[in-house]
């Protein structure tokens, strides 16, 4: 995994930074999308992360530190964006109304929706991020825990819970 690595004393070159961000752009978007479930919002998050980077630049020694930072900030920003959206929705109107509105909006997506989508949709922001990092990105619990700022045990716990719900979903499908 590129997330954890030995730091070097070498300062990053500007051109290298561009290359690293270009390399990671897709993965950052993937994580943000996994959490947010919304393409436009995911694009926004990744843009915010990338453009706030130059300010941080003198602090990074080596590619690993930079990549870790990108992942961490993208994940947390996505979680926060999701929470912000959820709280906006709560404040805006009754849940049912918003939900109906949102679903109508995503009508072409709706055709392709299945239970896995519903499951992802039902997860808490942190759980979605956990899935994004552990399942989609294949990170270890320790790595995901580091990025999310929680104990590895918490990640293990979340994953167990998510798997349990997946199993319940599969059972439902069979029944």
């Amino acid at each position: 995994m590129p997330v954890v690595g030995a730091s070097t004393d070498k300062r990053l070159d500007v051109s290298e930074v561009g290359r690293i961000v270009a390399d990671q752009y897709g993965r950052l978007f993937g994580i943000a999308y996994r959490v947010l479930g919304c393409r436009a919002e995911a694009e926004d998050v990744v843009q915010d992360v990338c453009l706030s980077l130059p300010d941080k630049l003198p602090d990074f020694r080596g590619e690993a530190a930079l990549t870790t930072w990108l992942f961490r900030v993208a994940t947390n920003k996505a979680i926060d964006a999701l929470r912000a959206r959820q709280s906006r929705q709560t404040h805006m109107a009754a849940w049912g109304e918003v939900e109906a509105f949102r679903r109508a909006e995503a009508v072409e997506e709706a055709a392709a929706r299945d239970q896995l989508d519903d499951l992802m949709e039902s997860l808490e922001p942190e759980d979605r991020a956990t899935v994004a990092l552990v399942v989609s990105e294949g990170m270890s619990h320790a790595e995901a825990a580091d990025l999310l700022g929680v104990a590895p045990g918490t990640i293990a716990w979340r994953m167990n819970r998510i798997k349990e719900r997946l199993r319940a979903m599969v059972r439902q499908e069979v029944a």
């Binding site: 500007v14 393409r39 843009q47 980077l53 300010d55 630049l57 930072w69 896995l116 989609s136």
Partner: protein, 646 residues
Amino acid sequence: MEPMDMDDLRAALAARTPAPCADRRAAVLTQLEKNLEDRQGSVAGGRLTSRTSEQPRAIWQKLEAEMSKWKKRGIFLGTSGLVTAGLAVVVVLSGDHSTPPSAQYLDGLQMERIDLAERHQMAPVDARNKAAVKPVPLVVAPQGQIEAFAAAMTRMAQDTMRIAPALPTPGPDLVHGGMSGDRFEDVVQNSVKIAAEEPVSTFSIDVDTASYSTIRSYLERGQIPPEDAVRIEEMVNYFSYDYPAPEPGGIPFATHVASYETPWNAQTRLVQIGLQGALPEIEERPPLDLVFLVDTSGSMQAPDKLGLLKQSLKLMLPRLRPEDRVAVVTYAGASGVALELTNASDTAVISAALDGLSARGSTAGAAGLKAAYGLLERVTDDGRIGRVILATDGDFNVGMSSADEMKDFIADKRDTGAYLSVLGFGHGNYNDALMQALAQNGNGHAAYIDSLTEARKALGDQLTGALFPIAGDVKVQVEFNPSVVGEYRLIGYETRSLAREDFNNDKVDAGDLGAGHSVTALYEVTPVGSPALLNDPLRYGSAPVSTGDAGEIGYVKLRWKAPGEAKSEITSTPIPFAADGPSGEHRFAAAIAGFGQILKGGTYLGDWGIAQAIDLASGHDGVDEWGYRAEAVRLMGLYQDLKSIE
């Protein structure tokens, strides 16, 4: 657990992820390159122009942080109220690890939460691994940048202070207590006193630890805690030290005084005064009947709520005695008894009942509370101690006509010998004020639990008898020997200082000491004639100094009341001028006090900084069974990184 095919899931998720928009990607990368080039031409520490527009959000976020600090002060005040009511030592764990409600305002500022190295994130829970947790400085920022950052922090703090008076004031529930009313009052650090002019220093013990949790929550969010949030004595007292217990049958606490060379100044000495409360044998306590009243409303459906709660309660089981009993009552929609009082030895039955809990429905708190007390009512006669432990995220629906009525109900039950403690979980709708009020009325404590470690701390205290106060209104008075000590300075305890004459006035309230708890206070003293003295001698001389015993730095007097007594007793002990170096335990206490002073600006520390504090803290040789000390070292490392990054 049957293995899930993660690869299938990964593939399924990948199939559901669209590709990022290529145009957008190109635009972002181009802009990034441009910003990078601009950046190269700018001075170190300069601001990104794009961040300037986000300034109002940054201030808003800062405000929110300030407000949450207020809330914590609220808890803290409530706690003092508890202590004055003659109750137990209260552990308030308001550590707020995950993202605060302000998270939606995440902006450029919060982006600075970068902690470069994963090594700070997870401290091994084993003191033997301390080599592994000792951070190595990774990033060295140019001095100018550090200064720019410090200046920015100061500015921001000033902004906040200016805006602060417009904030809503906390409700009357939170304002009582013997502390200063203005929550935004700057607490001025204790200054250096001249022993010849002011030889006597008096303060109340402080058994709270909330400040440490607050600081931890700031650092873990990637923010430097505001200086006013730092109460050094609460940081030092968060940890337990290896003070020998008192002799049985005598004074309920042991006094340990020591002096050793100050880590940050070889010319001065630290005087450490430690009080260790007696811990009654656990066998001596009456059997407990614990009713876990578990909130299973929909909002509890989160890993850091119901999940953590189940784990926490299970952790508690092995620490119970076989004759203790446990029951579980849930409340959500209709409340119900999930488990009748069951002997603690039936761990399998209890575990199964806990596992069976799942979150659903809305909250019917009052009905649950009545059901929980109902279980205790049948048994309170035979010398058992009944306690309801309410575990909730604060979404407590008042079925009784008002919150006051519920408090009265709890207070009535307390008078019949059934107590209430509150464990708070999760974020977002945790209702500090109500929970604190309920616990106060129930003779219990309110603890905020955000991790298993905190659960262990809070629940462990509960069960080892720390809920029994052993000494009330404990006051400390130190008289320094002016023939030995030129200057002295009390580190921390600013909010606990007492007038000299209050020491002998039993009407003046002070902190209580709970069973098994320890309290530590540190003075930095400068010997007479030392080059480290900060005050010059007076040209016209000062009053002649009476010569005391040159072997004594000073004399410690302690006043306390036996629980329930109105009249205080006194004990005293000299502070020997020993040439010993610090023990490992001393080193750790000094490191925490040093860290606290760094957080407060480090006025008296000279060149001694966070790297030295980390070294010192890592070098302790004490027992760190649960990793609290390792965590402290990790927090210091976080702070070091945050500072160096800016």
